[in-house]
């Protein structure tokens, strides 16, 4: 399973999203510190390192931005400690 599929699976299970888009931005960061092949010490082994998550879920209704982002970060905590180096989040409640 790719990292992207794993992220999609975890978010779907935890948030029951109305819409969910997981975009792998890793190719835009070739040469970035940490990117495999960048030659930097400590470069990550996975080629999937940068993601954007766009999610609409009723679970976010009435929650602040911080709380929404914390929820997503928490669901993906294991991945963020591992190979995922950057995660952009757009978290909305239905109707926003």
């Amino acid at each position: 399973m790719s990292v992207k599929e794993r992220i999609q699976g975890k978010l779907s299970a935890a948030l029951a999203p109305l819409t969910l888009e997981v975009i792998d931005d890793s190719h835009k960061h070739a040469g970035h510190i940490g990117h495999p092949g960048s030659g930097h010490p400590g470069a990550l082994s996975s080629t999937e390192t940068h993601f954007t998550v766009k999610v609409v879920s009723a679970a976010f209704t009435g929650k602040t931005r911080l709380a929404r982002h914390r929820a997503v970060n928490e669901i993906l905590a294991e991945d963020l400690r591992g190979g995922v180096h950057a995660l952009a989040i757009e978290a909305r409640a239905p109707g926003e």
Binding site: H32, I33, L87
Partner: protein, 113 residues
């Protein structure tokens, strides 16, 4: 010896607006940090940049401090405001300027169109 958490608190005290970032405000080393720098500069906010690439203990410690896994991290009056996405959304809706104003931080209020 002060713990790294104490050192972070020390960084936050005495300066109203602090940005933990990769690189410096003059030379950001990451696009996400660079976006926050541009927003703060646009609003004319006076702030201190802390380069986490210069200190790995701070880099890890600040993630624990705020329970937030990524850099950049913006703090106003010692309180964590958000990372790049949150700061950008707050800027786009005008909330950031309002929030800074409420906190007594001097900044340019963008003109309403």
């Amino acid at each position: 010896m002060a713990s790294i958490q104490d050192e972070i608190k020390q960084e936050l005290s005495g300066t109203e607006v602090v940005l933990f970032m990769k690189g410096t405000p003059q030379m950001p080393m990451c696009g996400f940090s660079g976006q926050v720098v541009q927003i703060l500069d646009y609003l004319g906010v006076s702030y201190k940049g802390v380069n986490v690439l210069a200190n790995d203990e701070i880099r890890q410690g600040v993630k624990e401090f705020s329970n937030w896994p990524t850099i950049p991290q913006l703090y106003v009056k010692g309180e964590f405001v958000g990372g790049c996405d949150i700061v950008r959304e707050m800027f786009q809706t005008g909330e950031l300027a309002t929030f800074l104003g409420e906190q007594g931080v001097s900044c340019q209020q963008p003109e309403k169109n």
